[in-house]
């Protein structure tokens, strides 16, 4: 699905220093029209700085920023066609909701009647109609959030910038707002650039996600691409959880490496062509991919066992019941502790601590994390 329209936002080699510290490093990014794009990463990774540079509150030291094809790098923040929703909403306390939301329109000299009409329509869209004459301080957190959204959106910006807008809300309200934001975005077809450190939020809401760490944009892709094909060890570790362990390849057949761990145990992993046997790799497998079954004495050639499947023996050490899911912590002599995530069974877990089990997973579910052979992304 190739989108041939020009990108709404384009960052070209954007770099920013704070004193000696490199906050954002050579970020190249294109955000498409109508897309919900999230920048995801831990605190201090540079995502907020990048957002603020698009808004115009910080100036890049190198590189350029384009909005709707125009180079806005030198333009001040109040002359860009981008509007921001702030983390603490930043509603003007001395103004009513109506005055807050129509602030930008007034500056653009939109006629009063039209401004009022647009404001009321937008307040309705975000779900706070009827509050026009209240002061900002009289609203609840959730209401303030929506007003802040309305205030930015009513100006019909080319891109809406959101700086962790939901982080001040409690969990239930957050979940609700996540869905509502998505709905509003769809309804208005506005391009959203969203910054968050919450991976679940990003995965839920975004069309595409950009993972950042230590100022660098590591990978850009859809949620599935990032989760299933992480191109960088950090990405693999940050999004979702991992079982990671070192592996020494005994055989390499084409693009598949095999490590035999004794007693019919084995782990396979995809490797680049030309990898030699004897190479050490850091590999990972997602807990929900790890299947468990009780270990029977005749497991060397257990029925239904695919010759190619990855297989490890171990003993259940601990069980963590998390509601819909259950985590089994299994100690394996070959690979150390492995976590297997299963849907919870009703009433009682099928395994108990001390049970001998066989862990298995698909041969191509394992992925390499680096050391020799990890492919680092370039965020295209």
């Amino acid at each position: 699905m190739t989108d041939t329209s020009p990108p709404v936002v384009r960052l070209d080699g954007v770099t920013k220093y704070f004193g000696p510290v490199l906050a954002v490093s050579e970020v190249c990014l294109e955000i498409r029209q109508g897309e919900f794009f999230s920048l995801l990463g831990p605190s201090g990774c540079g995502k907020s700085t990048t957002l603020r540079m698009v808004a115009g509150f910080e100036q890049p030291d190198h590189g350029s920023i384009f909005i709707q094809g125009t180079d806005v790098t030198e333009r001040p923040a109040n002359k860009r066609n981008a509007n921001m929703v702030f983390q603490n909403y930043e509603l003007f306390p001395h103004m009513t909701v109506l005055e807050n939301v129509s602030y930008g329109l007034k500056i653009k000299r939109v006629p009063k009647a039209e401004a009022r009409h647009r404001t009321e329509a937008m307040l309705e869209t975000v779900g706070v109609s009827g509050l026009e004459n209240r002061r900002a301080s009289q609203l609840s957190g959730g209401q303030q959030q929506r007003v802040a959204l309305a205030r930015a959106l009513v100006n019909e910006p080319a891109v809406l910038l959101l700086d962790e807008p939901l982080s001040a809300l409690d969990a239930k309200l957050r979940k609700r707002m996540q869905l509502e934001l998505k709905t509003i975005q769809h309804k208005l077809s506005t391009t959203f650039l969203y910054v968050t450190h919450d991976q679940e939020e990003a995965l839920l809401m975004s069309d595409r996600i950009g993972i950042m760490s230590q100022g660098r944009l590591l990978q850009v892709g859809t949620a599935r691409e990032i989760y299933e094909s992480p191109s960088h060890p950090f990405v693999a570790d940050f999004v979702g959880s991992l079982n990671a362990f070192p592996l020494r390849l005994d055989e390499v057949t084409g693009l598949l490496g095999v490590s035999r761990l004794g007693q019919a145990q084995q782990v396979t992993v995809g490797v680049p062509g030309g990898t030699q046997p004897g190479t050490f790799l850091q590999v990972a497998i997602r807990p929900e991919q790890v299947r468990m079954r009780p270990r029977l004495d005749a497991d060397g050639a257990a029925a239904g066992a695919d010759g190619k499947e990855c297989r490890v023996y171990g003993m259940v050490h601990d069980i963590m019941y998390l509601g819909p899911l259950t985590h089994y912590l299994v100690d394996t002599p070959a690979l150390g502790r492995i976590v297997s995530q299963q849907l919870s069974e009703r009433r009682a877990a099928p395994f108990r601590a001390g049970d001998n089990v066989v862990l298995s997973w698909e041969p191509d579910a394992t992925f390499a994390l680096g050391a020799a052979g990890g492919t680092a992304g370039n965020g295209a």
Binding site: Y17, Q59, P60, D61, H62, T73, E74
Partner: protein, 267 residues
């Protein structure tokens, strides 16, 4: 590390701003600087033509018994004012600490009234009061008035300190078995020490320089500002520069210490 901070428009604004700030600070400090400077000039003129640097005038006032007595009284007034106002402020603040927000606001706002209230009115009010109850005018009458003047500032300092105060520490002490007085002595007081000291220094600074209340209540037991006032009316006397310099140095030093002790307060 190339920056893009070329904004020539703002540079002009910044220069103008610096000029404005410099002029204003010059205006604010010039009189003080002049008094200070001239006090070291041994010749009795007022126009900064320095002949030499001399402590002649300081020596003169230091050996003037009236001035020395006034200085002592001013010091006494300052210290007593500080202790009394700090004590009253502390009891008030602690008493208000566990009250609801609304009451706390009232208790911390009412003492601020003397701040805006003109000293002249308070002065004649006090004079009338002392007259009515037959109490004479004295340094103690003045001190009583100074405490009222210092209370707003003391309350402001304590209100800020209470805002930052971690009451959970008191609960921790109680959990470990400490009784009320022990808690006060070993936890509350040490934690409030910077605020108490700051409040005391502030009170001393206010009292030392205070003129109007002292004018109406001190009677013959003049404070240093009163002596200065009395002699101004007698004509220009270079010794006044010395007295004035002493006064301003003292109050500024006290204010400085007040600022330092509250800044050093650990969060």
């Amino acid at each position: 590390m190339t920056g893009r901070r070329t904004r020539p428009r703002r540079a002009g604004a910044r220069t103008a701003a610096w000029v404005y700030v410099a002029l204003m600070l010059f205006f604010l400090f010039a009189p003080l600087a002049v008094v200070l400077a001239v006090s070291f000039n041994p010749t009795a003129n007022m126009n900064l033509q320095f002949t030499a640097f001399s402590l002649r005038w300081y020596h003169q006032v230091a050996t003037d018994p009236l001035v020395v007595a006034a200085f002592r009284r001013t010091a006494l007034a300052a210290v007593v004012t500080a202790v009394v106002s700090a004590a009253l402020g502390l009891t008030g603040a602690l008493g208000a600490a566990r009250l609801s927000q609304r009451w706390r606001t009232v208790i911390f706002t009412v003492p601020l009234v003397p701040l805006a209230f003109p000293a002249l009115l308070f002065g004649i009010g006090l004079a009338s009061f002392y007259h009515a109850i037959g109490a004479g005018f004295s340094i103690w009458a003045t001190i009583a008035g100074h405490v009222i003047l210092a209370l707003p500032f003391v309350f402001l300092v304590f209100a800020a300190a209470l805002e930052r105060f971690r009451f959970s520490l008191l609960d921790a002490a109680r959990d470990l078995g400490a009784g009320s007085f022990t808690i006060f002595r070993t936890v509350t007081l040490p934690l409030l020490r910077p605020a108490i000291l700051g409040a005391m220094f502030l009170s001393m600074a206010i009292s030392a320089d205070e003129f109007v209340i002292a004018f109406f209540t001190a009677g013959s037991q003049q404070t240093l500002p009163l002596v200065l006032y009395g002699r101004i009316n007698l004509g220009v006397n270079p010794g006044l520069n010395a007295i004035g310099s002493v006064l301003l140095l003292i109050t500024m030093a006290l204010a400085f210490f007040a600022a330092r002790t509250s800044v050093l307060e650990l969060p």
